[in-house]
């Protein structure tokens, strides 16, 4: 059987090229690795090597030919013991088929608005809400810090595969004391101090999850996770998809996020929108202790990689938490933390406290505000946002973070796309100023959102200013 030598594709984008020079002539014997010709692509001149051994039969495309399409038969190679003359020229058209096949199948791909996989999954999932707390359940006051610690401890008792690693999580008891007492109960095998090498230990945690464990990777703050973001995005989030569903990566990356107090620009940033833009990640950013506990437990049990964003300024705040054997809350579900009928204020994390404060002020002015805590940033609970908008017809988003390409922008897009008919006023966003966070107390104060600005935006959409 004669071997057809076809014009090779020598780069991902090459469609045609110039056959610059033949380095063999008809009748030459060649072996694997011999250079047959030089071909000019759009990028470079490349040598075209023989893969087989044999004798060069007919050369069908002379040197100097430009615009030779990939797949065109350029020469024929007669195999060992074969008559060179019988290696006749085949129909070159046959080579065109694969490329065309690919084009036609491309055109079958769905067009128009393509929902993300997560949205689609969320849409097909049955609606869930927080489980009812049985009447008479004892309520205890816990700080967010304690609630997070309790969540980790309970899950570590429940599942041997769960462990915590990070900087100062063990002997120091946590840089922010979130892992306090865990070393004592679970020992150094499961509560692991790491060197200050975020990229490395985020990768090790991710690999351990791929290997079947349930790591909780603590970042001292998410500012330092930027050194590790490659593993969060490229290794943890994408591998399940790239492996056709074979590779699970049930890891939780957690730690404080957003502005703390007077630590300036490099230590004060909200990464919620960054991670929430990545398909394959779950992103949770709770406000109160009950949500922190219930959602962290759910995150640890999730089969998917979770980015769990806490807030340093909220760690010490106390909230009521139901004393249940197993307090687990649904991921992907917002919560109405204050019911109202005049205007909706959507927020998450520390912004929820400010939104509630604004709602109190507004109540004194006769404006009845509803406050929605998103709790999960990906997948975003569109239904709850839109249902609240349908009820109040006015919406403000309060976000402790930059305005550009933010969760606020995303919520505005949702309202435009699917809630337009319900809007009685343009949606407004209340975000931090679009500057790196300054150190000086007065400037920092000016840069961050506060309850006053949220109330002002609410008045504006109610046309009450």
């Amino acid at each position: 059987m004669a071997i057809e030598l076809k014009m090779p594709a020598l780069s991902p984008t090459m469609e045609e090229g110039t056959l610059a020079r033949w380095l063999v002539k008809e009748g030459d014997t060649v072996s694997a690795g011999d250079v047959l010709a030089e071909i000019e692509t759009d990028k470079a001149t490349m040598e075209f090597e023989s893969i087989d051994e044999g004798t060069v039969g007919k050369i069908l495309v002379p040197e100097g030919s430009e615009g030779v399409k990939v797949g065109t038969v350029i020469a024929v190679l007669a195999a060992e013991g074969e008559d060179v003359a019988s290696a006749a020229a085949p129909a070159p058209a046959a080579a065109e088929t694969p490329a065309e096949e690919q084009k036609s199948s491309e055109s079958e791909a769905p067009k128009g608005k393509a929902p993300s996989g997560t949205e689609k999954l969320a849409a097909t999932a049955k609606p869930v809400s927080d489980p009812d707390v049985p009447p008479g359940t004892n309520m205890v006051r816990l700080t967010v810090r304690e609630a997070l610690r309790d969540a980790m401890a309970e899950e570590m008792r429940r599942d041997e595969r769960v462990f915590v690693m990070g900087e100062e999580v063990a002997e120091y008891q946590g840089a922010y004391k979130v892992t306090q007492g865990l070393l004592e109960e679970f020992g150094p095998k499961r509560v692991i101090d790491t060197p200050i090498t975020e990229y490395g230990f985020a990768g090790i945690g991710t690999g351990a999850a791929m290997g079947g464990l349930r790591p909780i990777v603590e970042f001292m703050t998410f500012n330092f996770a930027m050194q590790a973001i490659d593993h969060i995005v490229n290794s943890a989030a994408k591998t399940n998809y790239m492996s056709g569903g074979q590779m699970r990566c049930p890891v939780v990356f957690r730690g404080p996020n957003g502005a703390a107090s007077r630590v300036a620009a490099q230590h004060s940033q909200n990464f919620g929108p960054w991670y929430a833009s990545v398909p394959g990640l779950i992103v949770i950013a709770p406000y109160d202790a009950s949500d922190a506990k219930g959602l962290l437990k759910a995150a640890i049990r999730s089969e998917d990689p979770v980015v769990f964003l806490e807030n340093e300024l909220v760690y010490g705040r106390s909230f009521e938490v139901a004393q249940l054997d197993d307090h687990v809350l649904p991921i992907g579900k917002a919560r109405i933390v204050r019911e109202g009928s005049d205007v909706t204020i959507v927020s998450y994390s520390i912004g929820v406290g400010l939104a509630l404060e604004a709602a109190e002020t507004l109540a004194g002015e006769g404006i009845d505000a509803e406050v929605v805590d998103l709790r999960t940033l990906r997948p975003l609970d569109r239904e709850t946002i839109l249902a609240s908008l349908a009820k109040t017809n006015r919406l403000v988003i309060a976000e402790e973070g930059w305005p550009t390409c933010s969760i606020a922008s995303e919520v505005m897009a949702i309202c435009m796309e699917d809630g337009f008919d319900h809007l009685d006023a343009p949606v407004l966003r209340v975000c931090n100023e679009d500057v790196p966070l300054p150190y000086a107390a007065n400037l920092e104060h000016l840069a961050l959102i506060d309850a006053g600005r949220i109330a002002e935006a609410a008045r504006k959409v109610c046309y009450r200013n």
Partner: protein
């Protein structure tokens, strides 16, 4: 997992206290190399060598076919061929314990999968982006996995597989399952910062991992001399007290012998080993490599004098294996690869619904 847990059998024999061991400077970077140099080549029965030969030949023919299919436009994007480096994956993986150990590598991954006995049909079908591919056509050349074979990829970011591999080793140790992780990376990846973060933690925590640097002399088009201050890569673990081994990666029996020494050391709980496998890639970095950074003579010289498959063939003939038998193997492999290519060309593309599957595992 704190420092107190760190133990090194060799050291504790000589020192009563760990602190004394750490400060006495008796760390033996070359201890494994010395053991290896006493006997550099594995004494393989003809049957085993035949098996290794067949595996290397399968990789060679498979990769040549992949190169052809790329030329025909049936394989897209990046496609990094393993031609020339076959002895490394075949020699190392032949010494692993199946069902116990794990493997992870970078984007030049076809050969490692074939050396693990994964069906060439589903690998080739992944290269052509078909539903029957090992990643349902969603990963492509650089992103292939087989959890069934404890092959954890197939990673496209240079160096990322190193900490991920340490994570797999961490899981072996955590579960105390007796397994080790073999993490491959190239001379290019060996300059990434995360590699050294991982060396530090792997050594500190005594993780059961073998770091295998496949030094094919070029990081894309940059030769090791132009990119690396220390080109003896086996020394790169010294600062982390990781013993190194300098291995001829063009000789499958030498690779196998080195693996025996390294794997035993790691399996006995002595912490990581760093192996440098000196090898050579015949083809370009990827398919679109114009190869202007080296001479044809250099490539031909390696092909003619150090080819791992020709070397194994000569050994087999010396052992008295019939040449006809080798021809039969050659024919069988050609047929197997042709079948894989046919399968990969004729299998259907993924259904449009697959666009949305496997983004998340759970429903939220």
């Amino acid at each position: 997992m704190a420092r107190a847990a760190r133990s090194n059998a060799a050291k504790t024999k000589r020192n009563s206290s760990e602190d004394a061991a750490a400060s006495s400077g008796n760390f033996e970077l070359r201890s494994l190399q010395e053991r290896f140099e006493k006997n550099r080549r594995y004494k393989a029965e003809p049957e085993l060598l035949l098996h290794l030969y067949e595996q290397m030949l399968l990789i060679r023919r498979f990769e040549e076919k992949a190169g052809q299919l790329y030329g025909l436009g049936l394989i897209g994007g990046f496609c990094h061929l393993y031609i020339g480096q076959e002895a490394v994956a075949v020699g190392l993986q032949s010494a692993l314990q199946e069902g116990k150990d794990s493997v992870i590598t970078g984007y030049r991954d076809h050969g490692h999968m074939l050396a693990y006995g994964i069906d060439p049909k589903i690998i080739m079908a992944e290269l052509t982006g078909r539903q029957a591919g090992i990643s349902k056509g969603k990963g492509g050349s650089m992103h292939m996995f087989s959890t069934e074979h404890a092959f954890y990829g197939g990673h496209g970011i240079v160096g990322a597989q190193v900490p991920l591999g340490a994570g797999l080793a961490f899981a072996h140790k955590y579960r105390d399952d007796g397994g080790i992780c073999l993490a491959y990376f190239g001379d290019g990846a060996a300059n990434q910062g995360q590699v050294y973060e991982t060396f530090n933690m792997a050594s500190l925590w005594n993780l059961p991992i073998v770091f295998a640097i496949e030094n094919n002399q070029y990081a894309m088009g940059t030769s090791v001399k132009r990119s690396s201050a220390e080109i003896e890569f086996y020394r790169r673990g010294t600062a982390f007290r990781i013993p190194g081994m300098d291995v001829n990666g063009m000789d499958v029996l030498e690779v196998r012998q080195a693996a025996e020494v390294a794997f035993a050391h790691v399996r006995e709980g002595n912490g990581p080993v760093l192996m440098e496998l000196n090898t050579y890639r015949y083809r370009g970095h990827s398919m679109s490599d114009p190869a202007k950074y080296r001479t044809r003579e250099e490539v031909q010289n390696v092909r003619e004098h150090s080819d791992p498959i020709e070397g194994a063939k000569a050994d087999l003939l010396k052992l008295g294996v019939d040449e006809e038998k080798l021809k039969d193997i050659d024919k069988r492999i050609k047929a197997q690869v042709a079948e894989a290519a046919d399968f990969a060309e004729t299998s259907p593309e993924p259904s449009p619904d697959e666009l949305y599957t496997d983004v998340l595992v759970g429903s939220y």
